[in-house]
Symmetry: C2
Subunit: 362 residues, 2 copies
Amino acid sequence: MTEPLRVTYRLDVPVDQVGDLAAALAIEQTIEFPPEAVDDPQVTTQAQGWVETVEAGPDGAPHATIAVPPDVVAGQLPQLLNVLWGNASLHPRVRLVGVTLPPAVLDCFPGPLFGVGGLRAATGVRGRPLLLTAVKPMGLPVQRLAHLAGRCAAAGVDLVKDDHGLADQPWAPFADRVGRLADAVARANARHGTCCVYAPSLNAPAGLLTERAVTARDAGAGALLVLPGLYGWPALQPLADVGLPLLAHPAGMGGWTRGVAAPVVFGTLARLAGADMSIFLVDGGRFPVPPEEADAVAAACHAPLDGIAPCLPCAGGGVTVANGERLRRRFGDDCALLVGGDLHRGADGLEARVAALRAALT
Amino acid sequence: MTEPLRVTYRLDVPVDQVGDLAAALAIEQTIEFPPEAVDDPQVTTQAQGWVETVEAGPDGAPHATIAVPPDVVAGQLPQLLNVLWGNASLHPRVRLVGVTLPPAVLDCFPGPLFGVGGLRAATGVRGRPLLLTAVKPMGLPVQRLAHLAGRCAAAGVDLVKDDHGLADQPWAPFADRVGRLADAVARANARHGTCCVYAPSLNAPAGLLTERAVTARDAGAGALLVLPGLYGWPALQPLADVGLPLLAHPAGMGGWTRGVAAPVVFGTLARLAGADMSIFLVDGGRFPVPPEEADAVAAACHAPLDGIAPCLPCAGGGVTVANGERLRRRFGDDCALLVGGDLHRGADGLEARVAALRAALT
């Protein structure tokens, strides 16, 4: 028989309910039909999931592994997400903790098209983490955002992205913003010999995303900031076809992480969806994150996944100039650090703070 | 000043941290920048959120209401979702419990284009709840799915949808399935004088959704089953332009409901996104749902929302023939009931079970 997908759920229910819930999930995630009413043996053999194991997980809680025939996912990401998490997400006491995909499924996904090497080639950075920042705050006019983007590029930031909330606000509409910021970064690169990449935020009605991505590419953007927590993971694939690296921002991703283990979300799913960089939350910042979770996420971005390239893990959510060196030691050189507001704090000035961080990373 | 959006969060933190977290959220959801480093007064006046109230909510927990200038959302759903829930979703101790949108924001959203009246016109049903079912189980070949769809239509089901997991599996590919099922329903309608609508499942790579919707419409489908929990709420708007009612299925929606109050998700957001029917989970079925939650969801689908039409709440997740009458008394006539597997249970047969349910609903 073809090797099945294996999905592991943690079941936070009394021990005498674990077996029934596991059996119910195997049905819920596949045929969603009373098994006793199935009258075609093909349904059972080709489509029905089954409980493979129920045992105590590393956390001591009951973990159930459900096996699913690979044809059920039809080689497509939305149906894969549906099988992993669709109706199961609606069980508040079910948590998705692990996924193992067979070659028959993985072969259907191109994964990140640029990946770590592509991001390094675009920024010219070797042997150290990439340094990212966001142009903000929202509310500044285009002229000031462009000036700031140019300053960041000149100062030595490797990748300047729009703040993810920059959409089409009246004071800085996309059509006006994207070309001006791309030009400001290009001019700074030409003048200072830097190689900074500009990544505009694709925050627009879904029907406009591809058009915006093409506009951005043609205006000189070198990457695209995408928002899978708001648009869904399937939204990335048409954008990958535009031909620029995709940087996945975590806004709205709490919808996934409240029920799915963070390494599956920011690592496995980000890579299957085609993200070249996965921005995740690190401990010690603005969000309460267990340190071991951040370590596991960074590892999942790089872990072997049978033909699917790694994506570059980018620590964010409150990274400061002061902790850059520590994060580099922790995550190694194959990562990125997103430093936002902290570049603007204190009296020493943006240029001095970027220089300090670059020195700590080199 | 223009009336702001108001977003209410429940903060599950010790009481001495409530004020700081509320203030941090007002910044996090808008300018995401150290307020002391803002050097342009326009940022503060036109873009920065502020804490309006912090008080005990109806549940006794601290509730903070954040106010946001309406221009921040740029009249667009993705950025509205971002302001309501983007980075806040990543705070595990923050829950979104209420949203009040001013006319300046609501005016930007068309809402459901068909709504309750459009679904009644399409199915010819007046004065009683609509009866829905799904053709399943996944694994059946197209011929058997088509036969089943025709039987359901002939028996008196008002709306037959694909099971949401029917994607492009090798045994029943979309291109083959959609026309055959639409034809089977049309033939049953012609023969039996019924008025059943067929709604195929749009479960395909994101770049193919609009094309599939057009194919379905041209093949005779009368509505579309959409999956905002997997594709994101923004994915609905381009599909609404195809010109068929949209039925929103809850698969993957646990991502939202684990952090956002169910009436906001299945009511407010579904309507803003343009869903004509919102399938929600009812208590007493396969999912643990508090009864008061289901009542609040059904109410939120109908509640006044300043120019945004109601959507039809559809109780699902384990509705049975036996509890149809009780649900009708509970939710009134302006609802729908989705009965899936239970139509296939027992020895009395599908036709008899549909007849019994129709009798209970009429």
